[in-house]
Amino acid sequence: MRLELLYFAWVRERIGIPRETVETEAQTVAALVSELSAREDRYALAFSDLTSLRVAVDQVLTDFDAPLSEAREVAFFPPMTGG
């Protein structure tokens, strides 16, 4: 499965890139996070505390248990601070 990954704010800074395309068989967001964290330290660092992270699948906020079937775009970012 081909997924577009997006990173924002300090997640983007820790991982070092704003977006990338990955091939993965991960079934859930959590499985994808584990796969990325195992890949390189910068991912492990960015994903070290999931309680301080938020995730959106196809531009809709969801949680780390969310399935990735049908997903095309997954974004990771800290809690939002708009307004």
């Binding site: 704010a9 939002m80 601070t81």
Partner: protein, 147 residues
């Protein structure tokens, strides 16, 4: 409903005026304007706002639609900037129009609470002491429980 996500500055007063004049059945308009705030103790040089193009517009439209379901609104306006801003610059505004004041007030308050924690914007502050991402406040998340 008018939702704009833009880098450019906007004229709060001019937007408020044209919003308030758009309909003859409007009796009450509430506006909110968020401004880059400076403090004497720890002066701010600039603020940078990052956002998630596509999701931002979608999230704001959903929040505005939810406000329209909950209250008797005649119109809703949301303008939110991204990019670099200096103290005193206007970051964003919301405006709500209704026949009566209670709906306009509640809806504007609701829009701000949801926009703050559910629209994908992130603020970074450049201060003399250093640069850092603004942390989300627990009180902002807790405020959603009001609705």
């Amino acid at each position: 409903m008018d939702i704009r996500v833009q880098a450019e500055a906007f004229d709060f007063g001019a937007e408020a005026n044209s919003f308030a004049q758009a309909r003859t059945d409007t009796g009450a308009v509430v506006t909110f304007c968020g401004i880059v705030r400076d403090t004497e103790i720890d002066p701010l040089n600039s603020m940078e706002i990052e956002h998630y193009p596509g999701m931002t517009e979608r999230a704001l439209a959903e929040i505005a639609a939810e406000a329209q379901r909950r209250w008797a609104l005649l119109d809703v306006l949301i303008i939110h900037r991204y990019g670099l801003m200096t103290p005193g610059e206007k970051i964003m505004m919301v405006a709500t129009a209704s026949a009566h004041r209670a709906d306009a007030f509640a809806a504007a308050d609701f829009l701000m609470d949801y926009l703050k924690s559910r629209a994908p914007f992130w603020k970074k502050e450049h201060r003399t002491a250093g640069t850092d991402w603004v942390q989300a406040k627990e009180s902002d998340e807790a405020a959603l429980g009001r609705w």
